[in-house]
């Protein structure tokens, strides 16, 4: 190996290591926390402070949905999203975020600040953890702002019925053993009690589009395990992000949605109407 080759390899490694957007070292190494640890921490928090129910004003109610924000301080897309929400008259004032709020190092605090106008206007921002939120071993910083990774909440509608929402942590392409057991318990307990059961999480289920290579997801065993669980216990919809591409599929009566990313060149968020059936309105930002 000559000196130039050696120098080029060294420079390449240094460039990869100093990249502030993609965590190349994390490609084949573990993050600072495991899904089971995050699940345990989340359960402890929920025990003390459960996520409050939402009381909807009508049988069909609306929520905002956003995913893959990838905030790194270089775009005003997040401000535009916040502005779209706060200027809307939607009654429930709830945002479901499907993960990847941040991209890169040390962005958590700034992203949180950008979202502050939402909470000041009375909105709730309910987040699912994304893989980028754990990059650079910065999950500890991330959870200072968004500590819950696995939780449930209910939306009560005027007729007395309720919809159940379950947030799962799939940031590492796996549900983890503890969370998987908890999920089955939740679904068993929910059987027959709710008008609909909606699961939202970061990682998508199907690779029917290759525009966002590489964007890994579950192993086939995990995919089938979760799909089987969802259909067995009557889950209505599964809302996911990660793929940066909209898609709708059905399998055994369960509707699987993957949503377009806010960070895309043609980025968007969605206004979702939950009711007898799920309706989507894409808002380009």
């Amino acid at each position: 190996m000559n000196r130039l080759t050696f120098f080029c390899i060294l420079a390449g490694l240094a460039a990869l290591h100093s990249c502030n957007k993609y965590d190349f070292a994390g490609f084949a190494s573990v993050t600072d926390t495991h899904v089971n640890e995050r699940f345990d921490a989340s359960m402890k928090l929920i025990e003390a402070h459960p996520v409050a129910d939402v009381n909807a004003a009508s049988e069909d109610y609306e929520m905002y949905l956003v995913t893959d924000i990838h905030y790194d301080g270089t775009s005003d897309r997040l401000e535009r999203f916040v502005s779209a929400c706060t200027s809307d008259t939607v009654a429930e004032k709830v945002v479901l975020c499907l993960g990847d709020i941040v991209s890169g190092r040390d962005c958590q605090s700034a992203a949180f600040s950008k979202l502050q106008p939402l909470s000041e206007a009375g909105w709730r921002f309910l987040n699912a953890l994304g893989n980028h939120d754990t990059f650079f071993r910065e999950y500890d910083k991330f959870r200072e702002f968004w500590p819950l990774t696995t939780y449930t909440f209910k939306v009560n509608v005027p007729s007395g019925a309720s919809d159940l929402f379950i947030c799962l942590d799939t940031a590492e392409g796996s549900c983890g053993t503890s969370q998987r057991a908890w999920l089955e318990d939740q679904l068993k307990a929910a059987a027959g009690k709710y008008r609909s059961i909606n699961v939202y999480t970061h990682t998508h289920f199907f690779n029917t589009d290759i525009s966002q290579f590489p964007s890994g997801n579950f192993s086939l065993e995990d995919t089938y395990d979760l799909m089987s669980l969802f259909s067995r216990y009557g889950v209505t919809s599964v809302l996911t992000g990660h793929k940066h591409h909209f898609e709708h599929r059905s399998f055994r009566g369960v509707a699987y949605y993957t949503f377009n990313a806010l960070c895309n060149n043609r980025g968007s968020c969605y206004k979702v109407t939950f009711g007898k059936e799920l309706q989507l309105k894409e808002i380009n930002l």
Binding site: F27, S29, N131, F206, G216, D222, Y224
Partner: protein
């Protein structure tokens, strides 16, 4: 790592890229232990056959019975062209893996181009994968989903020439004779073989499938150990 070290002296049929067994009809029977986050501990067995019809065409078939939960079968037809430094080959494979507990399975068909030499074997190709719903009797049953394009790859390195009576190989790929994964799920393997007699070869292999590699948040997902014998006719 200790387990890997203990199994190193054993064998791996897939390592025998150009060894004598490639020129003989052979049948392999292996016991399997598998531990995964999805299924915890499972045991089962594999049966695989190798059929070298002539210098230019061979075929492999494999069936796996893993506990009561997983049944898998693969058939590979392989035209090949011996060259001075190695062997160029094309795999045309069909594969079915059924997960009984879920009533869901994978059917995939595809082709790959490979080149195997004494110390290195590489393979690259594409496949189309369908998620099959085996559930009967409900209105929503039978809603299959196709994933149109999946890249398949495999790289194996032998520590000795492939014709050696014993060898150790290691590598990675997103498919084996018994499972085809999405591109995002490389399966790392290490194994080896040792000819015990003229007709019998002992072999063993350890596979490790981490989760989330292309999410860049990698953790353990599945490990399997295979050990058994090959009989050469």
């Amino acid at each position: 790592m200790l387990l890997l070290g203990m199994l190193l002296p054993c064998a791996d049929i897939s390592a025998r890229q150009r060894g004598p067994a490639r020129n003989h009809y052979s049948i392999s029977v292996l016991g399997v232990y598998d531990h995964s986050r999805t299924f915890a501990n499972q045991g089962g067995f594999d049966i695989a056959g190798h059929m070298p019809f002539n210098t230019y065409v061979e075929a492999d078939a494999g069936f796996e019975f893993l506990g009561p939960q997983i049944l898998a079968g693969t058939f590979i037809a392989r035209p090949k062209l011996p060259l001075r430094t190695g062997e160029l080959f094309v795999d045309a494979a069909i594969h079915l893996r059924a997960f009984n507990r879920f009533g869901i399975g994978t059917f995939s068909a595809g082709g790959s181009l490979g080149y195997r030499m004494d110390y290195v074997s590489v393979q690259l190709g594409v496949q189309r994968m369908s998620i099959l719903d085996f559930q009967k009797g409900s209105e929503s049953a039978g809603s299959n989903i196709s994933e149109p394009l999946n890249l398949i790859f495999r790289l194996a390195v032998n520590v000795r020439p492939a014709t050696s009576p014993w060898n150790i190989s290691l590598g990675a790929g997103n498919f084996t004779l018994y499972q085809y994964e999405r591109i995002y799920y490389p399966i790392f393997f290490i194994g080896g073989h040792c000819d015990v007699t003229d007709h019998f070869t002992a072999q063993a292999k350890v596979e490790l499938k981490p989760s989330g590699m292309f999410n860049m948040t990698t953790h353990f997902n599945e490990m399997s150990v295979r050990a058994g014998i090959t009989y050469r006719f």
